[in-house]
Symmetry: C2
Subunit: 346 residues, 2 copies
């Protein structure tokens, strides 16, 4: 039995209570000030407002100011906070983190560093604040399904073999299957960028709705280009293409384009909104679409990977998506141009 | 302008009239005896009964007995006949094929040879009957969308560079984009086997319907395993994994699991029917699901690839699918066992 403290009562933080409870562990869930209503609901036995699933019995609930008690003596600390809040939250908690056997990070995205102009992987950000070994979690895993316990295969990655084995042991159940990898960069780039490419493919859904004509062939044409570009981006940070071709890349993109939130951003663009309008509309409705920011990070990463060449030379789909989201390029033309002018597969 | 004769008035044979008409070619469509009703309808200007799309103007229609006239002077002959009818139809037509610059085959599957116990690729079967160069067509392309002209990227493959370039020139339009490859084995194995793996992934859809619980994570867990196993099968016939990771493999599987017919076979199994019952039910309703037979061919191919080892050692998902379809193995257990016991990605 392990003592596991989950920081963040969002969808995935709360969902992970299900496999951890099935494994018989001692569980604590800490909510930020923003999560106060969720913690109240779960403590009363009510369902999580977005997941519509109640917490399993026996979980200890902790509020914003109780973070010290929540972390006390934890074997594993799970960081389940949105990517752009990880740096400030870590800065605040660093002195109370103690010495867990693993810090498990489920956020997906990049961090721009203290100066705001870098492109850092989240495990590295956590490494700035703690010496505990970090384990990154990749997909494909829709939180709702983790919470209700339908079969899920996730990917855990770390360069610390001991922390990886320990996390694997603590989180694994018959229906929450874990593949492990030492390719943290491949895993993290795929986890972040599948949200961006999910927006691109979701645009075909919106074109379909707007025109009344099926566009499944277009979606399918974009799909392998997205996987190939994610592989190249991963390589530029030292990751491996094989990781991206597997569960945490192709698998996660597949679930994203059928069931994810980022798909919705693309859909609205395909229906006629500009990238900025679609992002504002979804954000106002409380829907987080990390793919919007991930596109900008990915674009800068692509520039950095080949500083001497225009991005569309190596990453035509990402270039098209960036122009659609940030420069109001016409969506169909930009996407189809990426498929037809510069085939990634020859 | 090329003279193009399409043999077979099924979905894809008829759909290809759209890009070919856009390219300004002289078109002839020949129907087998079974297609007589379709040819009648199209000639009257009525829509194709399954595609719900009429033929473009100017097409010449030919009935079963008029095959000689249909083929006379053709620059390109398109073989758009279901895979298991290709051998008898070719045997019948061989002497009338003439000397086209390319024979383009759009059927997907394998042939069992004259003796019934081989595993042959369709381009090789055509090569038994004609010396004209053969070009194979892979996906991802749902016929209905080709017919209505929404953006589609297909893959054409041949070891004859001249025939490949000529077919590329004749079929390409602004919305029917063609990638070319010399990897015929990779293309053909992916084209055939994506129907089999589409059945496996479709089973998750059926479990979802039966239980009322979403199973998107399960679908996504199966997806990259399917692509990896298709790559290994292609390699065993001299094909390349990269081909399978691209449009004609991962791309075609993606469209198959969201929009294909083979998905429906899996769905019925996931809802509780046996493999044989589900196949009989769909066949009786006129729905062709090539994935049923392709699973058996693929299973034998896997045995041949590693004759000294059980199939589940290298192809756990194909082994599970074979046992589900032909030996009534319990679907969820077999599929999840394939994902969890022997990860393809480590």
């Amino acid at each position: 039995m392990a003592r596991v403290t989950i920081l963040g009562a969002g969808d995935m933080g709360t969902a992970l209570l299900t496999p951890l409870h099935a494994g018989g562990h001692e569980l604590r869930l800490w909510g930020t000030a923003r999560d106060a209503g969720i913690i109240d609901a779960l403590e009363r036995g009510d369902p999580h407002p977005r997941l519509s699933v109640a917490a399993p019995p026996g979980v200890g609930f902790f509020r914003d100011e109780e973070v010290g008690a929540a972390l006390d003596g934890a074997d594993i600390v799970v960081i389940a906070i949105t990517s752009n809040a990880i740096r400030p939250v870590m800065a605040r908690l660093a002195s109370e983190l103690g010495n867990p056997r693993a810090i498990v990070v489920v956020g997906k995205g990049f961090d721009s560093g203290p100066g705001g102009d870098e492109i850092l992987l989240l495990p590295h950000v956590i490494g700035e604040f703690s010496r505990a070994p970090v384990v990154a979690v990749g997909g494909p895993a829709i939180a709702k399904e983790v919470a209700i316990g339908t079969p899920t295969a996730a990917t855990f990655g770390s360069d610390d073999a001991g922390a990886l084995a320990y996390s694997h042991e603590v989180f694994s159940t018959a229906v929450y299957y874990i593949e492990t990898t030492d390719d943290v960069a491949g895993l993290e780039v795929a986890a972040a960028m599948k949200n961006a490419y999910g927006v691109a493919i979701g645009i075909a859904d919106g074109i379909e709705k707007r025109t009344g004509l099926p566009h499944a062939n277009m979606r399918a044409a974009l799909f392998p280009h997205a996987v190939a570009e994610m592989g190249l981006l991963a390589e530029s940070l030292g990751g491996r293409r094989e990781t991206v071709a597997g569960l945490s890349g192709a698998g996660d993109l597949q679930v994203t384009v059928t069931s994810g939130r980022n798909r919705l951003l693309g859909e609205r663009i395909g229906m006629g909104l500009s990238g900025a309008e679609a992002f504002r509309e979804l954000t106002a409705a409380g829907t987080t679409t990390e793919g919007y920011l991930a596109t900008e990070y990915g674009y800068r990463l692509a520039q950095r990977a080949h500083p001497d060449l225009p991005v569309d030379r190596h990453f035509p789909l990402l270039d098209a998506l960036y122009r659609i989201l940030y420069e109001d390029a016409p969506a169909t033309e930009a996407l189809w141009g990426a498929v037809t002018n510069r085939p990634v597969f020859e």
